[in-house]
């Protein structure tokens, strides 16, 4: 009874503290080119999302908002719908119900995967996929927002400004000294940072980061935490992670997913004190 009450309280609070002031009005011109309009303090609106796979509801009326410049951590047991949620945001999976808006004006459900990437949502997958044969510098060069045309890239030269930008990102992800190193020679952690760097090259407004510290050494975990914290503010960051210590280290707000919907929201302490959460998730450990 007590647990049920606090769960309702939590859900109720999350609704009241995250008003969705979205009108869905389209701006003139190409909305994808223009990017999201986050003028109301929120960059991502997920409402009532439902995704079923052969009767199994991977997402069940999921409603979630991400603030502009926020660093949001999402935790939840296996099968809670974390990856499916990422897939819906990036256009890989289409929901059965619900809506997903990027800022005020971009309906994510109406855009293709490349359009969503172009509009400013970058996703880092669990397993690092960088271009192994290319150097760290070249990896970032390829990710650089710029021409994608075959013909133009035949004669493309990097401008001084672009070189500076690549150097700046290399410094930000801590790989300045590895600029000319082929990516296959980088450590696991360095590959993860390089991949984050590749996302940064595209100036994303929203970064989706899937289990960034899996398989990292403690030193690498610490550096990753610093990197993600430095990104928040300028970018909105959503981190999905299993490592509780890591989440505690970086999270300001934590959302717990369970069976495809939000179970609890709050600070790490609030969430960990929640009996419902303890029962379904933390109790397992």
């Amino acid at each position: 009874m007590n647990a049920r009450l606090s769960w309702q309280k939590l859900v109720g609070r999350s609704r009241s503290t995250s008003p969705p002031p979205r009108h869905g009005a389209l701006v003139s011109g190409d909305p994808v080119e223009a990017g999201p309009d986050a003028s109301h303090g929120y960059i991502l609106y997920l409402e009532d999302l439902t995704v079923s796979f052969d009767g199994f509801k991977a997402l069940n009326a999921l409603t979630l908002y991400v603030g502009t410049g926020e660093l949001l951590c999402i935790i939840g047991p296996n099968g809670a719908g974390k990856t499916t949620m990422m897939d819906v945001i990036t256009g890989k999976t289409r929901p059965d119900h619900g809506s997903a808006w990027f800022g005020q004006t971009l309906d994510l459900l109406a855009l293709t995967e490349p359009e969503i990437a172009q509009a400013g949502i970058g996703r880092k997958f669990q397993k690092p996929t960088v271009f192994e044969k290319h150097t760290a510098f070249e990896n970032l060069e390829l990710a650089l927002a710029g021409s994608r045309s075959v013909w133009r890239n035949l004669a493309a030269e990097l401008s001084g400004e672009q070189r500076d930008r690549i150097a700046a990102v290399l410094a930000q992800i801590g790989l300045a000294a590895q600029s000319a190193t082929p990516a296959r020679r980088l450590s696991h952690g360095q590959k993860q940072w390089l991949e984050i760097g590749m996302l940064l090259m595209q100036n994303p407004r929203l970064l989706l980061v899937d289990e960034p510290v899996a398989g990292m050494t403690p030193q690498e975990v610490e550096k990753t935490a610093e990197l993600l914290l430095s990104l928040a503010g300028e970018h909105s960051v959503v981190v999905v992670e299993h490592d509780m210590e890591f989440v505690r280290r970086i999270a300001r707000r934590v959302t717990v997913l369970h069976q495809g919907s939000v179970l609890a929201e709050g600070t790490m302490d609030e969430v960990q004190a929640n009996p419902k959460v303890v029962e379904v998730y933390l109790g397992e450990q």
Partner: protein, 376 residues
């Protein structure tokens, strides 16, 4: 190289020792072959026979074909088992021109119709033979026909995201289908006999040694030029995107590149190179027939590239020349053993030398230049 070479070519080759060696060998070929074949008297032991000249010319054309395959396979990861089809189409376009040049000197003496058409009792030239007596149009077709086929085929395949083994199989099917089609007499390409008995090219007698030497030199220049062009492509940003597609295709798509456009571009460019190789091959060998479309031919090209070292360009060229030299030697000495040997070579290369002979060379050098060679 301490001095700074003033020429563009020098600057280009500063970081490409293997390419420098290749161009030097090609230049030496262009000098020595005319010298040894034309200037040295036949009685001298240094004289190069016309058989050897034809053989070297053939190797050069095969090397250009291997270069084309290396570009799509070694750099873009598209394992085409149908490149001999583009080679043969280029050869057929050249063959049509050479057939029209025969004119009334054919067995039946018809001023317009090639012999095989007279033999089939045809009264007039099929529409696609018109204008093929003009050299420029024939040369246009040498590039256009393979390029267009690659464009249509590649557009259908890459748009449907057909990759890996499935793509390889349908390229085999493509070349096999073309072989069957060209075997038919009513296709208008001479059926199983194909084209032969060529007389002259641009008015020059194809039976004269000097014409053969000139064709060989043109082949060497085409090979060297194509090498430089391919190297320029793979070192451009487009080339880096292409190798990235080979290594992690979905990642490239995710960054926002249209993977299909890049694959299609490389595939078409490579097909045109193969077509040019075929067009250079036909006047030197003196015959083109549907057996050039054999699926086995395309597979052999892939073996040359694998043995030489895929993804290096110069390795593909070296592989083509070495394997074909071995083939020439073995098919005279031990004809029945050749196919077994080729198969064994391929297996040994795949198991022990995944980087081919080029990888073996790179391994002997210190790490820095080795990675340069394998990366680019």
């Amino acid at each position: 190289m301490g001095s700074n070479p003033p020429s563009l070519l020098g600057a280009w080759l500063r970081n490409d020792k293997s390419g420098g060696v290749l161009l030097a060998v090609l230049a030496a070929t262009c000098l020595l072959v005319p010298l040894l074949h034309l200037a040295v008297p036949e009685a001298s032991p240094l004289h190069m026979s016309s058989y050897a000249v034809t053989l070297i010319g053939k190797y050069l054309c095969y090397a250009l074909l291997a270069l084309a395959v290396d570009l799509v396979w070694g750099f873009c990861g598209i394992l085409s088992l149908g490149h001999a089809a583009f080679f043969a189409l280029g050869g057929y376009a050249m063959g049509m021109y050479l057939m029209r040049q025969i004119g009334s000197r054919g067995v039946y003496g018809d001023p317009i119709l090639p012999d095989f058409m007279v033999f089939l009792n045809w009264k007039q030239l099929p529409w696609f033979w018109h204008g093929m007596n003009m050299f420029w149009l024939a040369m246009l077709m040498v590039a256009l026909v393979p390029g267009l086929l690659a464009l249509v085929f590649g557009w259908l395949a890459f748009r449907s995201r057909v990759t890996g083994v499935y793509l390889s199989i349908i390229t085999q099917a493509m070349t096999y289908a073309l072989m069957l089609a060209f075997f038919r007499n009513d296709m208008g390409f001479g059926g199983n006999n194909g084209f032969t008995d060529f007389k002259d090219i641009l008015g020059f007698d194809l039976h004269k040694p000097v014409v053969h030497v000139v064709l060989l030199v043109i082949s060497a220049v085409a090979l060297g030029g194509s090498y430089l062009l391919c190297r320029w492509i793979v070192r451009s940003r487009t080339g880096r995107v292409v190798t990235a597609i080979r290594d992690a295709e979905s990642r490239v798509r995710f960054i926002g590149y249209r993977v299909e456009s890049y694959k299609l571009w490389v595939f078409v460019f490579s097909a045109v190179l193969a077509g040019i190789a075929g067009a250079l091959y036909v006047p030197q060998i003196g015959i083109i027939n549907p057996s050039e479309f054999q699926p086995l031919n395309s597979i052999e090209v892939v073996i040359w590239v694998a043995i030489g070292g895929r993804g290096t360009l110069y390795g593909a060229i070296a592989g083509a020349v070495l394997v074909n030299y071995a083939k020439t030697w073995f098919t005279t000495a031990l004809p029945s053993a050749w196919l077994y040997l080729l198969g064994a070579l391929f297996v040994v290369t795949t198991l022990l030398l995944p980087q081919g002979l080029a990888g073996l060379l790179a391994r002997r050098k210190p790490a820095a230049p080795a990675t340069g060679a394998s990366v680019t």
